[in-house]
């Protein structure tokens, strides 16, 4: 394994920033996107967070602690797996899976919550709050809160609570309070609104762990930096395994943290094509989807400027995806920038296509993927079948599908 635990995170983050591009700017802008669009009450706390974050990543002690946690608690580095049988079945490019599903708690989310929780403790905050959609980020937050002995409150939309009951129970087992959000569309975006309201009210003792690369500066950059461990490891693993970089990267995009985590360390490798996959729900031609990059337009929501699902009057519209983790009307501002700059391409796959890929990977490889990750698998499969066998595609298998058993069964008319 080319990635070693003593390779300081601070050094890596700095060199990533220097080597790739110097974004965001000091106020969190990725070109016209990102920024700081929050009520005045949060402006100074966000400035304190930015300063604490920058001091931490430059501190070898913080880095050592985080690297040790990622190794011993999360189980990093995560494996790189060549899905040979699935590749053979598709008859095209070789598919490699970055196994974030093997992390403690079953998804990439913990890479970020480890980092933010250590930062919270360093800042003397005693209470963690989080929003969650599929429940993976909520579980990852509740997990680190339990380990550090911090109070934890997770906001989750009423609709998501109904479709992710196993994760709700996990969070409660871990000692977190799960608050059902009944406003608006009762999904992830409303959970985020409610977490922001909590933070505005309890800003003195509370640290808000945002689970994706959205929100006000410094969250998009900070979460990217914490998740970039995915791409750093995968890049070294691909070089070691195949002797070269992959031809293509594919990752699903809701808010976009697993995707940025994979993409970011490859941005300067211009021979590597980058594809993000949004949720097309019932189809982009319907209004039941969650694909702001493919079918939305720029606006301001949740503290940043980015592509949004919105109506002509600037009201945020309801989204739909079979996967709760992609059911969000916005997307991280860096993805908006990568789209406009042409460095990354964004497509969308429907619920049906994602389910098909879910079953295909399960049957051919014995790996049950999360429905979110199944969107990336579906698109990677589509691309692979058009490519030669000596080409390679690296897919981020961002989470495992245990949490989705009820949803998939229900879709097939079964009740578990």
């Amino acid at each position: 394994m080319a990635t070693s635990a003593d390779d300081s995170h601070a050094k890596r983050v700095r060199s990533d920033r220097d080597g790739v591009y110097a974004l965001p700017d000091g106020q969190g802008h990725f070109g016209p996107y990102g920024g700081l669009f929050v009520p005045e009450t949060l402006m100074h706390p966000l400035e304190e967070l930015r300063a604490a974050y920058e001091a931490s990543i430059a501190d070898p002690g913080f880095q050592a602690e985080m690297d040790a946690d990622l190794r011993d608690y999360v189980g990093r580095p995560s494996a790189l797996y060549h899905a040979e049988r699935w590749s053979r079945e598709l008859g095209g490019a070789q598919l490699f899976l970055k196994r974030e599903d093997l992390n403690h708690t079953g998804a990439h989310k913990v890479n970020n919550t480890i980092g933010q929780a250590l930062l919270a403790r360093r800042m003397g905050k005693t209470r963690l709050i989080a929003e969650t959609g599929a429940g993976q980020h909520g579980v990852a937050t509740a997990t680190v809160a339990a380990r550090l002995g911090l109070e934890c409150v997770v906001y989750m939309g009423e609709v998501d609570i109904a479709r992710q009951e196993a994760n709700v129970y996990r969070m409660r087992l871990l000692g977190a309070e799960v608050i059902s959000v009944k406003s608006g569309s009762r999904t992830l975006k409303d959970a985020l609104n409610e977490a922001m309201r909590d933070w505005v009210t309890n800003v003195d003792d509370t640290f808000y762990i945002i689970g994706t690369v959205a929100g006000p500066h410094p969250y998009p950059a900070m979460v990217r930096d914490f998740q970039s461990v995915i791409g750093r490891e995968a890049r070294a693993q691909m070089l070691e395994r195949t002797g070269r970089l992959p031809d293509l990267l594919v990752a699903c995009v809701g808010g976009g943290s697993n995707a940025i985590g994979l993409f970011y360390p490859f941005l300067a490798d211009h021979e590597v094509a980058i594809h993000g996959v949004e949720a097309a729900g019932d189809g982009l031609q319907t209004d039941r989807h969650a694909a702001p990059l493919c079918a939305g337009r720029p606006g301001v929501l949740h503290g940043n400027r980015t592509y949004l699902m919105q109506d002509a009057n600037g009201q945020i519209t309801e989204t739909h995806s079979i996967s709760a983790g992609l059911d969000y009307p916005g997307v991280g501002p860096e993805h908006a920038w990568l789209k406009d700059s042409g460095r990354a391409h964004y497509a969308a796959v429907t619920d049906e296509e994602a389910l098909h890929a879910f079953h295909q990977l399960t049957r051919t490889e014995g790996i049950i993927p999360a429905l979110e990750s199944s969107h990336a698998l579906a698109y990677a499969g589509r691309l692979a079948s058009t490519m030669d066998r000596d080409r390679t595609i690296l897919v981020n298998l961002s989470g495992r599908g245990d949490k989705d058993m009820h949803t998939v069964a229900r879709h097939e008319g079964l009740v578990l």
Binding site: P39, T41, M43, H44, S183, Q315
Partner: protein, 279 residues
Amino acid sequence: MSRIARRFEQLRDRGRTALIPFVTAGDPRPEVTVPLMHSMVAAGADLIELGVPFSDPMADGPVIQRASERALAKGTSLAEVLRMVEGFREQDADTPIILMGYLNPIEAMGAAAFCRQARSAGLDGALIVDLPPEEGRGLVETMRSSKLDLVYLLAPTSTETRIELVGKVASGFVYYVSVKGVTGAGHLDMDAVAEKVGLIKSFIPLPVGVGFGIKDAASAARVAQIADAVIVGSAIVGRVESLAETPERIPDVIADFLAGLRGAIDAVDAASSPTPRLD
């Protein structure tokens, strides 16, 4: 001089503290709003804050969230809110009106179109909750050249540096959010509010309004002792909500409530020194 500046100058000359009610436009239905605005002026409102409903009001508590949902369910768009302002101006050329809301509906309309329509409707300014002084340069300049005031929030967490920064861009007045929290939250620590208002006044020569946590005549009177304007939102919107099924009663009930606040504020003004208050 803007209508807002003129209004505060008149108030200062009369030794009167401003009463600024907030209502969500279009709540519970669009035809209520203009008559409600007139009745609030008759009951002693000096300036009106008209809330623009937004689907994701992250700085608002449950009362104003529900008001936004009711107004959106009746199709209240930003363009519709500006038409209400225009309707109000047919009978009232003096009372300043500012919009209070979130940035995205304004961006969706476009800064130039918004300023043009706002100006011709007779709007005086806007307070954009999620637009801090660091952002939105283009919109800020377009508003300024359209002679629309841009009112900014200050909060208990605002440092001296931030107060100075807001002082450089704010016009009309500044709005001090008296508690950490969302609209409708909390109870006021008057000593802390008085100290912060004093600090703000040492940096910013504009009138300072205080809002959040003012629920009744007693809290309005306490705030009137230290602020140039008393801003009341959720206490009004909660009453509107309770009358959603009998909207014809809304203007009178809200006028009664405001008249009670006005009386309490006037008593404070009468008891305080007759010298001008805003120097």
